[in-house]
């Protein structure tokens, strides 16, 4: 039964179009559009967060290795990924070698403000994406406390601060910085942006 569904999906026009898309950025966002719309049909809400959200806001210039998707039903999402030809790796990530796309399914509640989510319309599909302010907070927190890759984290924060300089809600960002003890890192990032 599952095999039939997988075959049906792999021979569908959407899958063919995804496979034939040569631009990796367009391929990723088209895939996300298809995935999130199928999830919605199954009653699952999803939000794009993390590196792929930043990849989207920077038009593919700050690309990432995996897609982090917050969902409110992990079991249905994983079943759907399986039907989309993804296999679960040892580290819990889902990988499709045909599309060269990696997905991480996150089943925690969304930590940002849901009222500030941005919508992206890709062909006939709709994506909900974390707001730039929430992504900046996440990256600055990572730079200060996780320190796994502070350069990447600071660069992505700075990029979002610059790209959305005209629309960022600075009072909301200040509030997030206070709550997360990253006032110093936010001040540094803003100072860096203002010098350029």
């Amino acid at each position: 039964m599952a095999e039939d569904t997988r075959t049906r999906f792999k021979t569908s026009p959407e899958y063919k179009e995804m496979k034939e898309e040569r631009d990796p950025f367009r391929k990723r966002i088209f895939f996300l559009g298809v995935l999130t719309s199928k999830l919605k049909e199954s009653g699952v809400n999803s939000i794009l967060v993390g590196g792929e959200a930043i990849d989207l806001y920077t038009a593919g210039n700050f690309s990432t290795s995996d897609i982090d998707l917050v969902v409110d039903n992990k079991a249905i999402t994983e079943r759907l990924l399986n039907r989309f030809g993804f296999g679960k790796q040892g580290n819990g990530l889902w990988f499709n070698s045909d599309l060269n796309i990696v997905v991480q399914v996150i089943d925690q509640s969304y930590s940002g403000d849901p009222d500030r989510l941005k919508k992206f319309k890709v062909k006939n599909y709709e994506l909900r994406v974390a707001a730039p302010e929430d992504l900046i907070q996440n990256r600055l927190y990572s730079a200060k406390f996780w320190k796994s890759n502070p350069q990447r984290d600071m660069e992505e924060s700075i990029a979002l601060l610059q790209i959305f300089a005209d629309s960022i809600d600075n009072s909301y960002l200040d509030k997030l910085a206070k709550e997360n003890d990253i006032v110093d890192y936010l001040a540094d990032a803003r100072k860096y942006v203002s010098k350029r």
Binding site: P24, K118, P150, Q151
Partner: protein, 168 residues
């Protein structure tokens, strides 16, 4: 169209280099002479760069057309060109240098560097200044990348209220 798609090839690199180094707007012929290029190829390249708004043109006395880098994409190209010059003295294939593969190799080197000698970039109380963190980038590289991102994002998506719509 993303800015990086426009680069690659010796003529484009030389034309951009001439424009970056020029103090004032210059003609296609002057660029060709300075860089030892074929004038027709130089003109074709400038027309292409004009089309993608990397370059602006102005017709002055004796109906001559003068070219200079534009403020948006042109400035990004200039910053990138300067950063490349600081990185390496020899000619660089920009298309190759900007490719995802090479970008990820550069990032992998940075990550390896972090793993090898973290103390080099971290002060005793654990807080790194943003300048310390960013010192691993070639000057101008990030700024060019951000400018390029902004241009590409605005070209790819049209904003209506709270929704970004991907252009066909």
């Amino acid at each position: 169209m993303k800015i990086e798609m426009l680069f690659g090839g010796n003529t484009r690199f030389a034309v951009l280099e001439a424009l970056v180094n020029a103090n004032d707007a210059t003609t296609a012929y002057q660029i060709a002479i300075t860089k030892g290029l074929d004038p027709s190829a130089t003109y074709r390249c400038l027309t292409e760069l004009l089309e993608f708004r990397i370059v602006e043109s102005e017709t002055k006395e004796r109906n001559q057309t003068f070219y200079k880098l534009s403020n948006g994409a042109g400035r990004a190209a200039a910053e990138f060109m300067r950063s490349l010059k600081q990185k390496t003295p020899e000619s660089v294939d920009l298309e190759n240098w900007l490719s995802p593969k090479i970008q990820s190799e550069r990032m992998a080197k940075i990550v390896r560097l972090d793993q090898l000698d973290e103390s080099k970039f971290r002060n005793p109380n654990g807080k790194q200044s943003v300048d310390e963190i960013m010192s691993k980038r070639v000057p101008g590289e990030l700024s060019a990348l951000v400018t390029s991102s902004k241009i590409a994002f605005n070209e790819l998506f049209e904003q209506k209220d709270n929704t970004f719509i991907l252009n066909a």
